[in-house]
């Protein structure tokens, strides 16, 4: 049979032209998913990530519109651009999902997380913990003679940094809410 003398096909414009070639580099994206506040909706979203093997770095959910019965789920995920596209498309397929926003590509956004740290210690360590908390604008929300509970709000990196500093000073327990995020401007 004859050999085909094939030319390389031309790749015209496409809706996904933003990324003419999907790279293999893993990116971190923050997604805001507006969902109908029905029983099971969170299970649908989490089940999708588990079932299809996507990563969840952080996930927060709460009702944001009582009248309209809408909740906002903020998910921080990682994946190659093709996987991120697929995650958004798969989220969009869920019947009770109203909107999926990729805050990472839709322009500037702000991310905040709230965390609480229990730090136990005495003497210099106790003083140092208080001093660093002040620098990080963490509030003391509870204190006993042996420990403090700090509350801190900020971008996840700031909270990580604070955790690193508290560890040698007697960090006992951490509770973090996960990321809430909003796009900037309107």
């Amino acid at each position: 049979m004859s050999d085909l003398n094939l030319k390389k096909g031309t790749s015209a414009k496409s809706a996904y032209n933003l990324r003419p070639n999907f790279s293999d580099i893993v990116e971190r994206h923050t997604l805001a998913v507006m969902v109908e506040n029905e029983p099971g909706v969170l299970a649908r979203v989490i089940g999708l990530f588990a079932g299809r093997g996507y990563n969840i770095e952080s996930l927060t959910v709460a009702e944001v519109d009582h009248e309209g019965k809408l909740s906002r789920i903020t998910i921080v995920t990682t994946g190659t651009p093709q996987v991120i596209e697929q995650i958004k498309a798969q989220l969009g397929r869920i019947v009770t999902v109203h909107d999926v926003h990729d805050l990472t590509v839709e322009g500037p956004s702000v991310e905040r997380e709230l965390a609480m740290f229990k730090v136990a210690g005495d003497g210099d360590k106790r003083v140092e913990a208080l001093r660093l908390a002040d620098i990080f604008r963490a509030n003391v929300v509870d204190s006993t003679l042996k420990n403090f509970v700090f509350e801190i709000t900020g971008a996840p990196e700031k909270i990580d940094a604070f955790a690193d500093l508290m560890r040698p000073l007697g960090l006992v327990e951490v509770a973090r809410t996960g990321v809430a995020a909003l796009s900037r401007g309107i």
């Binding site: 030319k7 089940g47 093709q82 019947v95």
Partner: protein, 583 residues
């Protein structure tokens, strides 16, 4: 208009209002009120299956062959869990079905009550959507929404779980209204992208239509438009297993099915085309083979109603999100308005290349000696039934692939097969569902003996409702497809792929009061098939065939389209270690 009635009555009323005429089901404690309501009316016919899996496959067969959604009714706990395989099957093949399950009363949920199962939890990943209805007043709107979701956009299975107290209680019933829910998928394609595709079509030298189940899902009008488009452009067309019949097998531009067991010319054309126009197909791994070598030199356009199908497996250049029918209509308009151009000289060259590939005659076989070749059995079945008003279902395995290769489908909705999940045991109950939808037509299930045994209890259903379904069993006494892979991949070590102690199928048929026919001699085959066709009732046709026949062509796992195996001589060392980990 709002009316007062019980939840159970609402179920029946909603089904009637949604135009349902047939329900496939199996009763139990948690659905007794609904069965009571069904007993007291004459609009809806209930078909008592013999296993809930059968009910769901029957509903799938009914849905695929009529274009209407299929409906099932099963009880809580084991009734619901038995439906899971069927739901998953319908999800992967995009079949619209509505499964209603009974549930323990709301006040007992969570207490490990008798026959309690977390049905919505279990079925969440295998339905398009599901609901647990906790109030009778919410029931009517959920039921109507269930039909809307199952049938709009990319169709699929939905499930409504109804606790028994909700069935007994009274509440307000509202007739269906056009859905106002948030779920309203886009059907119109973006006209800029459509125009871009038209431009590519005008220039293409080696264009190819690659069509799939989405054309069938879109409805008969979409198939009609596809035929017009193919005729007007003279482009070649191939289809997936799920799309057979959208373009007629007798059509001039038909290359046959593509994929792992697709035709040589279809796969070579996929590999060599410079413009691939995917219409309602999802780049399944049975189609693409090894992704890095998939159609390396083509511009790819993809028309699909589900954005998640686009760029999932294969990156495409021209994505068009929309319904096939709507998009093709616009595509035709744009193409015509720009002067109906194609690069006809180049396309003619392309055709001469394709003709060379076709000349290989990859499906050729010779029937010799006293043992029936499965390909021969299907060729005779085709010759003797193609002029009938005919519907074909299949089980899963080699016979399924041979049916796709050797039977010709002239119209959509005539071919029902389990493609995505590959569910052995699908075909027999599906044939029952098809026959319910088309009482006067010839319905044949092309089966392997192993698959057929998986839902053989449904012979009782066929008998009870007088459904003259023909079970055409290609009996190789082997799990043939498994055996073939063991031969090619596992050093001919046939581990558990041989069915010992098969039943005498003729006696088995007779035990249910059906007709059994045994045929083992090629010379008797035509007469035996005629006997099957002439019998007015269910027939079990036990066709003893060559035991070690392999299904070719075959693209071995981990290989590209142009590395197809055409026959046994090609198989030595064909699959390497990398390929053998793939399924």
């Amino acid at each position: 208009m709002t009316r007062q009635m019980t939840g159970a009555e609402m179920v029946v009323q909603a089904l009637i209002d949604q135009g349902v005429d047939t329900v496939f089901g199996y009763p139990g404690g948690a659905v007794l009120p609904i069965y009571d309501a069904i007993f007291q009316q004459n609009h809806i016919k209930h078909v008592l299956v013999r296993h809930e899996q059968g009910a769901v496959h029957a509903a799938e067969g009914y849905a695929r062959s009529t274009g209407k959604p299929g409906v099932c009714l099963v009880t809580s706990g084991p009734g619901a869990t038995n439906a899971v395989t069927g739901l998953t099957d319908a999800l992967l093949d995009s079949i619209p079905i509505i499964v209603l399950t009974g549930q323990v009363p709301t006040f007992m949920i969570g207490s490990d009550a008798f026959q309690e199962a977390d049905t919505v939890g279990i079925t969440r990943p295998c339905t398009k959507h599901n609901w647990l209805v906790k109030e009778t007043n919410a029931l009517a709107s959920v039921l109507h929404e269930a039909f809307h979701v199952a049938t709009s956009g990319r169709p699929g299975p939905v499930l409504v779980d109804i606790p028994k107290d909700v069935q007994f209680a009274s509440g307000n019933y509202n007739a269906p209204q056009p859905s106002t829910s948030h779920y309203q998928p886009t059907v119109k394609g973006d006209i800029t992208s459509i125009t871009e595709l038209v431009e590519a079509m005008e220039k293409a030298e080696r264009p190819l239509f690659y069509t799939g189940g989405g054309v069938i899902n879109s409805g008969p009008a979409a198939s009609q438009l596809l035929r017009e488009l193919v005729a007007a452009t003279n482009f070649p067309i191939t289809s997936t297993l799920m799309g057979l019949g959208a373009y007629p097998a007798s059509g001039d531009n038909w290359l046959g099915m593509l994929g792992m067991h697709g035709l040589y010319e279809a796969n070579m054309a996929m590999h060599g085309c410079d413009l691939m126009i995917n219409i309602g197909a999802r780049f399944d791994d049975r189609i693409t083979g090894v992704i890095s070598e998939f159609s390396p030199n083509s511009t790819k356009a993809h028309i699909d109603i589900d954005p998640s199908s686009i760029n999932k497996v294969i990156r495409v250049d021209i994505p068009i999100v929309g319904d096939v029918g709507h998009v093709l209509e616009d595509l035709m308009k744009v193409w015509k308005s720009r002067g109906r151009k194609t690069n006809s000289a180049a396309v003619a060259n392309w055709w001469s290349q394709i003709k060379e590939w076709q000349a290989i005659e990859c499906l050729k076989f010779t029937q010799q000696g006293k043992v029936i070749k499965p390909q021969y059995a299907l060729s005779r079945l085709e010759a003797l039934t193609k002029n009938h008003d005919r519907y074909i279902t299949t089980e899963v395995g080699q016979h399924q692939m041979w049916a796709a290769q050797y039977l010709g489908f002239e119209d959509p909705n005539r071919w029902m097969t389990s493609g995505g999940l590959g569910t052995m045991g699908y075909g027999f109950p599906a044939s029952i569902g098809v026959q319910m939808g088309h009482p006067e037509s010839l319905v044949i299930n092309v089966a392997g003996e192993a698959s057929w045994l998986m839902n053989m209890q449904e012979l009782g259903t066929a008998m009870q409702y007088n459904l003259p379904v023909k079970q055409f069993i290609l009996n190789n006494e082997r799990l043939g497809m498994v055996r073939q892979w063991q031969e090619l991949l596992h050093g001919e070590r046939y581990s558990s792929s041989w069915s010992e102690s098969l039943p005498d199928f003729v006696k088995l048929a007779e035990a249910f009061g059906a007709k059994g026919i045994l045929c083992s001699d090629p010379d008797d085959l035509d007469e035996a098939i005629m006997e099957m066709l002439n019998h007015d009732g269910p027939v079990l046709f036990d066709c003893l065939v060559e035991k070690h026949e392999n299904c070719f062509p075959m693209i071995p796992s981990g290989k590209a389209h142009n590395e197809m195996l055409l026959g046994d001589a090609d198989t030595q060392g064909a699959i390497d270690a990398k390929g053998s980990v793939l399924v």
